[in-house]
Structures are given as structure tokens and as C-alpha cells.
């Protein structure tokens, strides 16, 4: 899941793949804007065929938190 998400993340920000660690914060470390992040959620929905709840993603700050949320959705 982390590797799939990493591939998607690298479509949005110009960082080295090694920078996309589980601890990396989307905004502060990877340089996402809120629009980038919301747009990426749309791509994730289509890629993983899931429905993402806006409220549940409000507290996602790091890559690992996003992975945990996705694993819960796809379980």
C-alpha cells in the first residue's frame, strides 16, 4: 500500500522518492498544498475504488496516517 501511495504522491510533488517516508508530512515535508492533497484524494478514490469521507481525512498529516486510513477502507 505504501509503495502504491508513494507512486501517486510523486505525481504531485517534485521530491526524491526517498523523501516519501512513512513519517513524511504532506504539507511541511513534501510541499503539498491543500488543493494538491484534495485532488490526490480524488485520484486515490478512483485508483483504489473506494469512497473517501472528507471528515475522516481532516486529521491526516503524514504518509503513514494516509496508508493506515486506506488499509482500513480496503480491508
Amino acid at each position: 500500500m505504501l509503495e502504491k501511495l508513494k507512486e501517486i504522491i510523486l505525481n504531485y510533488v517534485e521530491v526524491e522518492p526517498e523523501a516519501v517516508t512513512p513519517e513524511a508530512r504532506f504539507m511541511e515535508d513534501l510541499g503539498f498544498t491543500s488543493f494538491d492533497f484534495m485532488s490526490m484524494l480524488g485520484e486515490i478514490e478512483d485508483t483504489f475504488d473506494v469512497m473517501i469521507d472528507q471528515q475522516e481525512t481532516a486529521d491526516i498529516r503524514t504518509v503513514q496516517e494516509a496508508v493506515d486510513y486506506l488499509e482500513k477502507l480496503t480491508a
Binding site: Y12, F35, D46, A58
Partner: protein, 467 residues
């Protein structure tokens, strides 16, 4: 139906392009879609090399090679030519005054461009009286928006810098405009995402009718109610009978700007959220309604390809909030941020379809609106890693009005490369909104934002009283 033009595959217009097309088509002054900008640098330029670099930049960007054509049935299409050979004249303004130079560029910006089977931009190299040199770019809003403008100008600088300075690498490739519009057109043709987005906006529209708030209070709404005989009418006409426009610019210096930006950075809000809260609180104060709606532009460039494909991608939607005065500044900001994020999720939806549905749902008459103004915040600047290697070279950018607007008032907030401050650019119909009214709005917008940033736990009502 047109399939090819001059041997090139044609594509329909995208939703973002159609938005500009419709108001341009209805406006007698076709310069209404012109964007005129200058970028000048405080250094001697080799204009022969610059010309070559400009032509190279055109040929790196599919979007700069877009041309339009009209079918027999009146439908417009777009196509991208393989190679552009634009004329790149040079104009030396250095013997005159800055005012004369800017007056000339203002005049260029007001000249409508030919629209069929030709490039939709013109670029001129310029030498200014203040010792700065660079380019003036005239472009059509149907092929360019603020972000792609900055991207294109940056590309010219980077190509030029690579040519004349050591250790400046050649810039990365631009992304394909054609590949991007194929995705946009596939979305618009019918997709699960489009159905989802349509359902979202229809639900938002059906939740309740907004109400018009005027820059100078409820005068226009009262006038509309008197005219229609309906005391409960919630729309008003805010445009005048003349599209003649002016651009009134207010500058916020570096230090106060940094106070706002630091607050946004620390509390995880975009500056747009702060601007929206400042503006809606102003309208709330002037009109006495908790319900305020302001059109807000979304750049729609999230992926790296979207950021570098050029073209015009902005979609504007009403941003409506109903926030009672008892709510604190910080609570209101959070509410705005949450709504902004929701709208971002659905921003690919066609704004023309949005407004058509809302008009039909609430049976509004042509020209009637709930929104007194539009807002766009442009965070991109020309500062770029490669360019910082050139040392302390100063840049200036300037935006020239085209003389016409179909909107009463449009605020674009941009960073100033000169001093890291902010420019508040108000484009307005001269007969609909006066400079005096804008000064008043800007004054209170700043008072609200700064009071709120310093005291985020104050209720909005208290902030309104304190200012």
C-alpha cells in the same frame, strides 16, 4: 462537425475555456479576454539571444501554440500547431518616461486580437526608462491563466539564463497540453467523477438560496426588490451598463504581509481562507447578513503535469458561508477551510453548468447575482531555485488592464517579487464600483484580517465593533 483543421486534430473547448468564451462572445469589446503583463529585469540583456529563447519557449509549450477555428455551425474548436514562428519585435522606451511606457503597454492590452487560425499571444522585448529590460506579453485568457503565465515567463528566463550564464541548467520539459485536455474532455463527456461532482454542487445549491451583499450595503438589493415588487428577492444586479474597466492596486508592505503569512503557515490555513474571511466579514458588517457568497477562483493545478501544461484551467464557484457573529475568528477560519477542501474535491465540475442549474433552480433573471465580487489568490512567483543562482538580480512584474470587464469587481491578490509584499489588484467596472469604495473595502479588509490574526479567539461581532 470539424475533425481537423490545417491537418491538425481539433478538440472541443474545455469547461475553463468556455467560461471565458461566453462572456467574451457577449461583450462588444473583445479585448475583455486580453491579459497584458510585463516582466523586466535589472540587468543588461542580449536581445538577439532573448529573441531566440522566446521562440524556443513557444516551441516547448503546446499551449502557446493553440489556435482556434469555427465550424460552419458556429462551434469553436482548438488545435495545436507543431511549430510557432512568432514575430518578436523590440521596443525601446528608455528615452521616454515610465508613465509613457506603461501607457503604451496599457494601450496594447486594450487591442482585441484576431481569433481564428492564429497564435493567441504576442510578445515584445522592451527596454524601460528605469534601466530594467525584459518582455511584454499579451495573451488571451482562453489559452492562459495566471499560473501558466508565470510558468511561461519563467521558462523564457530559465532558457535565457542557461544560454548566457554558467552553471544554470536547462529547464525541465513542459507537460503536454493535448494530453491534459484529453483527460479534461473525457471527464466532461461523462464519468463517475463528474456525476459525483454534479451531485455535490446540486446538493449545495438546493440547501438554500443565498443573498446578495453589496460593497456599500443593501442599496442594490433594496433597489432590486423595489423594481420587482418582491420584498423577499435575494438577488441584485451589480454590473453597470458599461464594461469600461479600471485596475486599482493597493500594496501591502513586506512586514505586514509576513505577519499574515506566518499566521497562515503556523495555523495551516491558505491565505485564500484568510482573505475570504476578511472579505465576508466586511460584507457581513456592511449588510447585516450572516449569509455571504463570494466567487472564488480555483487554479486546478495539482499534479506536476497540470502545473506545467500551460493553458487556462481556472474554475470559479461561489463560496458561500453562513457564519453568525458569535463565532470566533479562528472557528470561522476552520469552517472556511473545511468548505474550501470540499469544493476542491469537486472543482473539475463545469462552472457554467453550476450557474445554469442555480439560475434555473431559483428562477433568477439574466444579470442577477448573489455575489458582489470574485476573488483569486495567486501564490506562484517568479522566484525559482535556478534564478536564485544569478544572485541579487531584481525583477519587476506589472499587469495592465485591458479596459473592459463583464464583472463589477474582481480581486486578484499576488505576491510582489520586488519586496515580498502583496498586491491587491481590483479590476472593476468604473460605473459600478468607484475607487473610493475600493479604498474603503481594502482598508476594512486589512483591519479585519490583522485584528483577527492578533486575536483569533475574538468573536467576529467583536472584531466588527473594534475596527
Amino acid at each position: 462537425m470539424m475533425k481537423t483543421r490545417k491537418g491538425y486534430t481539433v478538440y472541443p473547448l474545455t469547461a475553463a475555456q468556455k467560461f471565458h468564451f461566453f462572456y467574451m462572445d457577449a461583450c462588444e469589446n473583445k479585448a475583455v479576454v486580453n491579459i497584458g503583463t510585463s516582466l523586466t529585469i535589472e540587468t543588461e540583456l542580449d536581445f538577439d539571444i532573448l529573441r531566440e529563447c522566446i521562440i524556443e519557449a513557444y516551441n516547448r509549450s503546446e499551449a502557446m501554440r493553440i489556435q482556434f477555428a469555427k465550424d460552419k455551425d458556429g462551434t469553436w474548436y482548438q488545435y495545436v500547431i507543431d511549430k510557432a514562428e512568432p514575430e518578436v519585435p523590440f521596443v525601446d522606451f528608455s528615452d521616454g518616461t515610465m508613465e509613457e511606457a506603461e501607457q503604451a503597454m496599457r494601450k496594447w492590452t486594450g487591442i482585441p486580437m484576431k481569433r481564428q487560425d492564429c497564435l493567441m499571444s504576442k510578445i515584445t522585448m522592451i527596454k524601460m526608462p528605469d534601466g530594467y529590460s525584459g518582455v511584454y506579453l499579451l495573451s488571451d485568457h482562453m489559452i492562459m491563466d495566471a499560473q501558466s503565465l508565470i510558468c511561461f515567463l519563467r521558462d523564457i528566463i530559465e532558457i535565457y539564463s542557461h544560454r548566457v550564464y554558467d552553471a544554470v541548467p536547462y529547464p525541465k520539459e513542459m507537460a503536454s497540453y493535448i494530453e491534459q485536455i484529453k483527460k479534461d474532455l473525457a471527464y466532461e463527456a461523462g464519468s463517475r467523477a463528474r456525476e459525483r461532482d454534479e451531485a455535490f454542487f446540486r446538493k449545495l445549491i438546493e440547501a438554500g438560496e443565498p443573498i446578495y451583499n453589496g460593497i456599500d450595503g443593501t442599496k442594490k438589493l433594496e433597489l432590486a426588490r423595489k423594481k420587482s415588487g418582491n420584498p423577499n428577492q435575494r438577488t441584485a444586479v451589480n454590473v453597470s451598463d458599461s464594461v469600461e474597466s479600471d485596475l486599482t492596486i493597493f500594496h501591502l508592505e513586506e512586514e505586514p504581509t509576513s505577519r499574515l503569512m506566518n499566521f497562515c503557515h503556523k495555523e495551516h490555513f491558505s491565505l485564500t481562507c484568510l482573505l475570504l474571511l476578511g472579505l465576508r466579514t466586511y460584507f457581513q458588517k456592511e449588510n447585516g447578513h450572516d449569509d455571504v457568497s463570494i466567487n472564488t477562483a480555483i487554479a486546478r493545478r495539482a499534479t506536476l503535469k497540470e502545473k506545467r501544461c500551460g493553458g487556462t484551467r481556472i474554475h470559479s464557484f461561489p463560496f458561500r458561508t453562513v457564519i453568525p457573529k458569535e463565532r470566533t475568528f479562528m472557528e470561522a477560519l476552520r469552517e472556511i477551510r473545511d468548505l474550501q477542501n470540499e469544493i476542491f474535491r469537486h472543482a473539475n465540475y463545469d462552472p457554467v453548468a453550476y450557474f445554469a442549474y442555480r439560475g434555473k433552480y431559483y428562477k433568477t433573471q439574466p444579470g442577477q447575482t448573489y455575489e458582489p465580487m470574485s476573488l483569486t489568490y495567486q501564490p506562484m512567483t517568479l522566484k525559482e531555485q535556478n534564478l536564485e543562482k544569478l544572485g541579487d538580480i531584481h525583477y519587476k512584474t506589472k499587469w495592465y488592464p485591458n479596459g473592459a470587464t463583464t464583472q463589477a469587481m474582481y480581486l486578484t491578490v499576488m505576491h510582489r517579487p520586488e519586496d515580498n509584499g502583496l498586491d491587491f489588484n481590483f479590476e472593476h467596472q468604473v460605473k459600478a464600483v468607484s475607487e473610493g469604495q475600493l479604498e474603503y473595502l481594502y482598508y476594512y479588509l486589512c483591519k479585519i484580517m490583522f485584528k483577527g490574526v492578533e486575536n483569533p479567539n475574538l468573536p467576529l461581532g467583536d472584531i466588527m465593533k473594534l475596527i
